[in-house]
């Protein structure tokens, strides 16, 4: 059984064909700045990206049994694999999403290609999956809600992997999963559900590109000093915060290299990031009232042995630490579609 997975990123579209869970074809269609110059919004890029995907698929000469696209900043949803329906397409086309992001058109691209082949299309575990327990939603002022947005696709894939590796049922597992990438999501997992998250944008540890939680009174002084514009500050929070702000790079590899060359400042900042990640894991473990079976470190930054060793030393007393470095979004998408195509799981309906 063939599944075509489509994953639009800011400057490329990744496409892969999986045959029963194994990747048999893949390509990355790249776009330079010029190509995207007149097409700033995600919706404006649908036609161009769609045509390019079609051309590639034709070359491969494989007819998929289903197509799956990356999910976007949709409304709060249950976890699972969703059939792409008219309702969703209408919401996306009318901008009824929770923010502009290229992932919003993953479903549109998948739907269009699937139409050509007359096969069903899906999206899987978007960032907006909301399984928060009630208490997790309150911040210290009603104006700002704590919102469930996290790296759901990879985190859910990790929970499945723990279930497989440890011969357990996904719905029985209590874990803390930390997705460590350009942004970071630390989630307490209760019986397979993500009952809280720092929200990779709202708060939590600082990351390669984001500043995470900041001392809020001190930050207010920065906001009201008149020295900074709103857009400058917003960039300092997401994109140019964290490692970028301290060390001018978002590459953990580069930072590790500098540390090896004896850069003590880089070491201090990197270890502080590990400390903040550990604190977030400790905090989220508390939510599970002592019932944590494993702690999982995943995402690109989990490739850094130096960092995972630091975190491990601090949190190991809570539960054994499993390290699943990197993230395989394409595989996670394909598996989500396959579970439905094989009848192991029922597709959910977007309403």
């Amino acid at each position: 059984m063939y599944v075509l997975a489509i994953n639009p990123g800011s400057t490329s579209t990744k496409i892969s064909v999986f045959e029963d869970g194994e990747e048999v074809r893949k390509n990355i269609i790249r776009y330079d700045r010029d190509a995207l110059k007149d097409k700033k919004t995600a919706l404006e890029q649908v036609e161009m990206r769609g045509n390019d995907i079609e051309r590639e698929i034709e070359k491969w000469g494989i007819k998929p049994d289903g197509v799956v696209g990356r999910g976007g900043l949709f409304k709060p949803l249950e976890s699972g694999t969703y059939r792409i329906n008219e309702r969703l397409l209408k919401d996306i086309m009318n901008g009824k999403v929770r923010g502009e992001h290229i992932s919003n058109i993953g479903a549109v691209l998948a739907h269009n290609i699937a139409g050509k082949f007359g096969v069903p299309s899906y999206f899987v575990d978007p960032v907006s999956v909301d399984e928060f327990e009630e208490l997790a939603r309150f911040s210290g002022i009603p104006e700002i809600e704590r919102i469930a947005l996290q790296h759901t696709l990879n985190i859910k894939a990790c929970i499945r992997r723990v279930a497989r590796d440890k011969k357990r049922k996904m719905g029985d597992l209590n874990l803390v999963v930390a997705h460590l990438g350009g942004g970071m999501s630390v989630c307490p997992v209760k019986k397979g559900r993500l009952i809280d998250a720092n929200n990779a944008i709202q708060e939590g540890p600082f990351s390669p590109e984001r500043s995470g939680t900041l001392p809020i009174s001190a930050f207010l002084e920065m906001c009201t000093s008149g020295k900074y514009t709103k857009s400058f500050l917003s960039r300092r929070l997401v994109g140019e915060g964290g490692l970028v702000a301290y060390l001018g790079t978002n590459s953990a590899d580069e930072v590790v290299l500098r540390i090896k060359e004896g850069d003590d400042y880089a070491r201090k900042v990197y270890e502080a990031m590990a400390y903040q990640i550990s604190k977030e894991i400790g905090a989220m473990a508390t939510v599970l009232k002592g019932e944590v079976e494993y702690i999982v470190l995943t995402g690109g930054v989990a490739n850094s042995r130096l960092l995972t060793d630091w975190v491990k030393a601090r949190v190991e007393f809570i539960a054994p630490v499993l390290i699943y470095p990197g993230e395989n979004e394409m595989l996670a998408l394909a598996q989500g579609a396959l579970r439905v195509l094989r009848g192991e799981e029922e597709a959910k309906e977007y309403r």
């Binding site: 009630e134 208490l135 997790a136 939603r137 309150f138 911040s139 210290g140 002022i141 009603p142 104006e143 700002i144 919102i147 929200n199 944008i201 709202q202 708060e203 540890p205 600082f206 990351s207 984001r210 500043s211 995470g212 939680t213 900041l214 001392p215 809020i216 009174s217 001190a218 930050f219 207010l220 920065m222 906001c223 917003s234 300092r236 929070l237 997401v238 964290g242 702000a245 201090k268 270890e271 502080a272 400390y275 903040q276 550990s278 604190k279 977030e280 894991i281 400790g282 905090a283 989220m284 473990a285 508390t286 939510v287 009232k289 002592g290 030393a313 601090r314 949190v315 007393f317 809570i318």
Partner: protein
């Protein structure tokens, strides 16, 4: 040895006369709204008058006067001699913030001059002993600070270590001071190594908003919906329970919960949830936690304590030490100096 201990708070002035560790006289004067309507430094004569009235003839007999430390500049914890340079910094506003506790320094200095006795101030609020890693935030422009309820926190840690018969230097505690504001403190070897403060980034408290989503907060800042003063009050006085429920009194909130107020119930539980998360965050400090100490007025709430304990007890022992022991802490620290067990520190002027 006779010691006068003074502890000016935001709405009250507390004092005590102690014969060594034993209290002979204790008073807490609640001030009227009228009295508090002037800026902190302008309350000097009024507060001094209260203390002199209560202390009466003891004033002539005391061997030393000692005050709770205020907000000066980030400094090490401990006992400091009150001298001219410290007083000048307070008087001229060359400190990080104006706080009623700074009046204690001025009053102690006044008494020192008049009666020619030594004056001390103990564990300033601006005590800052954070370890290097804890200072780093997600932006170099805003280092994390260690401002906290240091007097009570350090005293609780000392007391607990004594009770456990463990040298303070080998003990690790998480001390949660729950008042109108709220701090969660990691105390390792007697020093406060990390702090989650409801005014900055910790859980929300009866009066402070705790950590908030910075992108959302930025939008709010630039929305013109609130003035700067209003935004400041989210962190000081009108955030947390106050903003959600219109009261910062835990007693009131608990009453409402008893009467079936669902919203009050949710918010109160969410506060406990946030406090527990902050405590959990410090458990990764690399040492076994000897105990989690809940203190301050908030620890008198059985409901709050039981909600927090439910989250924490699987990981560490929770001990409740209700109320703060600030006067005792001032006196004990001062006695250590007077008996030569500890040396008084000298304040270095750092006026900007």
């Amino acid at each position: 040895m006779l010691i006068l201990a003074i502890n000016p708070g935001s709405t009250s002035t507390e004092l005590g006369v102690f014969e060594d560790e034993g209290p002979i006289l204790r008073k807490k004067i609640e001030h009227t709204k009228d009295e508090l309507s002037v800026p902190v430094l302008a309350q000097f004569e009024m507060r001094k008058g209260c203390i002199e009235n209560c202390a009466g003839s003891y004033l002539q007999k005391i061997d030393a006067v000692s005050s709770r430390g205020g907000i000066l500049h980030p400094m090490e914890g401990g006992v400091y001699e009150v001298g001219k340079s410290m007083v000048d910094d307070v008087r001229n506003g060359r400190v990080d913030a104006q706080h009623a506790a700074n009046l204690g320094i001025l009053i102690a200095y006044d008494i020192k001059k008049r009666f020619s006795i030594p004056a001390y101030t103990v564990d300033p609020i601006s005590t800052d002993e954070l370890w290097e890693l804890a200072r780093v935030s997600g932006l170099p422009d805003i280092p994390r600070s260690g401002r906290t309820h240091s007097l009570n926190v350090r005293a609780q840690a000392r007391k607990m270590a004594e009770k456990m018969k463990k040298p303070l230097g080998d003990a690790t505690f998480i001390v949660v001071h729950m008042g109108g504001g709220l701090t969660v403190n990691l105390v390792k070897g007697g020093k406060i190594r990390d702090v989650a403060d409801a005014r900055q980034s910790g859980p929300f408290s009866p009066e402070a908003c705790g950590g908030l989503s910075t992108p959302d907060y930025t939008k709010l800042c630039f929305s013109n919906r609130y003035t700067e003063e209003e935004m400041i009050r989210f962190s000081y006085g009108e955030g947390g329970l106050m903003r959600w429920l219109g009261t910062s009194s835990m007693k009131d909130v608990e009453e409402r919960i008893k009467r079936g107020d669902k919203k009050a119930d949710y918010i109160f539980r969410a506060m406990a949830y946030g406090i527990a998360k902050s405590i959990g965050g410090f458990m990764v400090c690399g040492e076994k936690i000897d105990s989690v100490i809940l203190t301050g007025g908030g620890s008198k709430s059985k409901l709050l304590v039981s909600l927090i304990t439910e989250y924490i007890s699987p990981h560490a022992t929770v001990v409740v030490c209700p109320g703060s022991i600030e006067l005792e802490a001032i006196v004990e620290s001062t006695l250590r100096v007077l008996r030569g067990e500890e040396e008084a520190k000298i304040y270095e002027r750092r006026g900007r």
